[in-house]
């Protein structure tokens, strides 16, 4: 059993009366793309800052690469790259110079650094903007620069804190692809976000957080299996009598039926061919309907079932 890259045990962090992290536990293995998912204020950024030894904490322990992470753990810091939520670049330096500056804090060798900087720019797709100043870049390009500054030195462990906030779709795709590529090249990624679609897309393992607690942890599939809902069928209809709703409710694997806003919602737990059964019934009763949707559960559903809240409130 290899040492986990990050091991958090019983972490407690208070901001005065507010309990930001409540006996938080987490283990992240090497090579994972680990997602920290949760609504705003759940403690994702706080967790990250504690791991990075930027924030003090009240109880618990944190180990990175098997060693205690402290502000003066320079050897550990050398292997870590961070892309913060707020863009942290120098307005007076060009794209190239910014990346070079931050890379220079990690890599002393000039030739090697030059190579890394070129690779970083190519990686995020900013070569043609090499001599641009940050104020001339769009939001998406700025975020890409922010990322380049954080990963240019090719770290083993990379933290990305909400890297796609306010970013155009093109840049966002580029960023997500880039993260996957970094992982393929061997980096362990810790990705925090409240966009479940992104987390679902790239993360190998996910922890769902709320109010400083780790609610559920596992792969996508494992998380989805934790909840009752395995399928949601939605059918557009003008109207449906109450007794028919009760009938549908009694169909196999159906555990909830609702009719609202001209939409029939049928929630199923497990089983196969649920959609066929529902449609058969409607046909039998000669009820007309419009579009038909069958959706697998999302992480939002997982979150909703566990907490009773939406991820994006």
């Amino acid at each position: 059993m290899s040492t986990p890259v990050i091991k958090i045990s019983n972490l407690v962090k208070r901001y005065h009366e507010l309990l930001a992290l409540d006996h938080f536990n987490l283990e992240i293995k090497e090579g994972e793309v680990f997602g920290l998912l949760g609504p705003n204020g759940s403690g994702k950024t706080t967790t990250m800052n504690c791991i990075l030894a930027l924030l003090t904490y009240d109880k618990g322990s944190i180990e990175v690469f098997g060693k205690e992470m402290r502000p003066d753990s320079y050897e550990l810091k050398r292997q870590i790259g961070v892309v913060m939520q707020n863009v942290a670049v120098f307005e007076e330096l060009t794209v190239y110079e910014n990346i070079d500056y931050f890379c220079g804090l990690y890599i002393q060798d000039k030739a090697l650094r030059k190579q890394y900087v070129e690779e970083a720019m190519e990686f995020v797709g900013l070569q043609e903007f090499k001599n641009f100043f940050p104020r001339k870049l769009s939001g998406g390009l700025l975020r890409r620069l922010n990322i380049a500054c954080g990963i240019a030195h090719k770290p083993r462990l990379i933290f990305l804190d909400e890297p796609t906030v306010a970013v155009d779709p093109q840049s966002r795709n580029k960023i997500l692809e880039g993260i996957e590529e970094l992982n393929r090249q061997g980096a362990t990624i810790v990705y925090t976000s409240h966009y479940m679609e992104e987390v679902e897309q790239i993360c190998t393992r996910i922890a769902i957080m709320d109010k400083g607690k780790n609610l559920a942890i596992g792969t996508k599939e494992e998380l989805k299996q934790m909840i009752k809902k395995s399928e949601e069928i939605r059918i557009e209809m003008v109207d449906i009598p109450q007794e028919y709703l009760a009938d549908i409710r009694n169909l196999k694997h159906v555990y909830e039926v609702r009719f609202e806003n001209h939409n029939l919602h049928v929630l199923c737990s497990g089983g196969k061919h649920n959609l066929l059964r529902v449609l058969d019934y409607l046909q039998e009763k000669e009820l007309s309907f419009g579009r038909v949707y069958s959706e697998l559960p999302t992480l939002n559903d997982v979150f909703l079932e566990i907490t009773g809240k939406e991820l994006r409130d």
């Binding site: 901001y15 800052n49 990075l52 030894a53 930027l54 924030l55 003090t56 502000p71 003066d72 320079y74 050897e75 810091k77 050398r78 870590i80 961070v82 913060m84 707020n86 863009v87 942290a88 670049v89 120098f90 007076e92 330096l93 110079e97 500056y101 931050f102 220079g104 804090l105 990690y106 002393q108 500054c149 954080g150």
Partner: protein, 380 residues
């Protein structure tokens, strides 16, 4: 790491064109205004004709004769005499049309207006003239009574050119008081560098900026990169002050003396203090930047004020009331260094001031480092 931080700090500073403009404009524009304001300042040694009223009787022939001579129109006219009655003379005095009233008699007496304090120079000169007149009058009287044959020789002697009292100076440098305003202007410019020191502190602290957080997470010891930035900052600000010195000394021809090298060194140490001070203030507490700027600005202006920027004799007042403050007031130390260069031959006082400034700068820097050394925060 040090040179890496040094290089990039310098690069980014030189690119802040607006900042550069203002930093350079300030001493040059203000220096020019000072220069214009002080040009042609009334030379207190050169006397303008002094208007007086003379209340004389028939028998005051000698006085009248002297007044007529001194009141003769021409380049060296000493007095402008109006003969009047007592009432007329008092009227003129009340309306401030004359400096004083000379009353004939033995001895001659003088009346001045108590509310004309601003004319004390002229009043003193009149007073001295009256004393001199009386003394000579007495003298001639005494000689006439005792050795009347010598009277002619005495009068001849009085009309001869004399140079009894020669003024010398112990120093080659200028003792022009107005130059001290320029010294204080240089001091203010050095202390204004504290703003850049403040910025360095803020952008290096994780709880104050995202850039600070990023720096903290790097394996480079923060203190090394901060030191690199501070060094670059000192270099930059010092060059600004040197340019100002050049402008004031060479273009405006303000008499700073000839010890250019020492002046440049004083500027360097002055900037060092300014930046360290700004850095220290930037490191303390989590106040908004605007408040810290406010603190720096008022402290700078207050110190410059006490050093004599606005009224140059303020320094002397401080010297009398709490002399120890002049020894730690950075503005006073900087301007005093310049003053010492222009007045004294030996450099003892100059080096003393610089040593104090340097020591204070180092202490402030170290104190700032100690505060900022902590890289973990309770909140970010």
């Amino acid at each position: 790491m040090f040179w890496h931080a040094f290089y990039y700090y310098l690069k980014s500073t030189l690119r802040q064109k607006e900042n550069l403009c203002w930093t350079l404009l300030f001493p040059i524009a203000l220096g020019t205004m000072f220069f214009v304001a002080f040009s042609g300042l009334s030379d207190e040694e050169s006397l303008h004709t002094i208007p007086v009223a003379a209340v004389v009787k028939e028998e005051d022939i000698a006085l009248k004769s002297v007044l007529d001579t001194l009141g003769e129109a021409g380049e060296d006219q000493f007095l402008e005499v109006t003969y009047a009655s007592e009432e007329e003379a008092l009227d003129l005095l009340q309306n401030k049309e004359i400096i004083g009233i000379l009353h004939g008699g033995s001895p001659v007496t003088l009346s001045v207006n108590a509310q004309m304090d601003n004319m004390q120079m002229e009043q003193s000169i009149l007073s001295a003239f009256v004393d001199q007149y009386n003394a000579i009058f007495d003298g001639i009287k005494n000689v006439a009574m005792t050795n009347p044959e010598k009277v002619e020789a005495v009068i001849r002697g009085l009309s001869e050119e004399t140079d009894y009292n020669k003024e010398i100076t112990y120093t080659d440098g200028t003792m022009d008081e107005m130059v001290s305003y320029f010294f204080n202007l240089i001091a203010m410019t050095c202390l204004y560098a504290s703003m850049t020191g403040l910025k360095i502190a803020i952008r290096n602290q994780a709880n104050l900026s995202a850039l600070g957080a990023r720096r903290t997470l790097s394996p480079t010891h923060r203190l090394i990169s901060i030191l690199g930035e501070i060094t670059a900052c000192i270099l930059f600000q010092t060059v600004i002050v040197w340019i100002s010195l050049f402008y004031l000394g060479v273009i405006l021809k303000v008499n700073f003396g000839s010890q250019t090298g020492y002046m440049m060194l004083a500027s360097l140490v002055g900037c060092m203090f300014g930046i360290s001070f700004g850095f220290f203030v930037g490191c303390i507490g989590k106040m908004e930047e605007a408040i810290k700027v406010g603190i720096l600005m008022v402290l700078t202006m207050f110190n410059c004020f006490l050093s004599g920027l606005m009224v140059h004799s303020m320094r002397i007042q401080v010297e009398k009331i709490c002399p120890w403050y002049n020894k730690i007031n950075p503005a006073a130390l900087i301007s005093d260094s310049f003053y010492a260069l222009s007045v004294f031959q030996s450099h003892d006082r100059y080096f003393g001031n610089l040593a104090t400034l340097f020591a204070m700068a180092v202490c402030l820097c170290v104190a700032g480092f100690f505060i900022v050394r902590r890289e973990k925060y309770a909140t970010l």
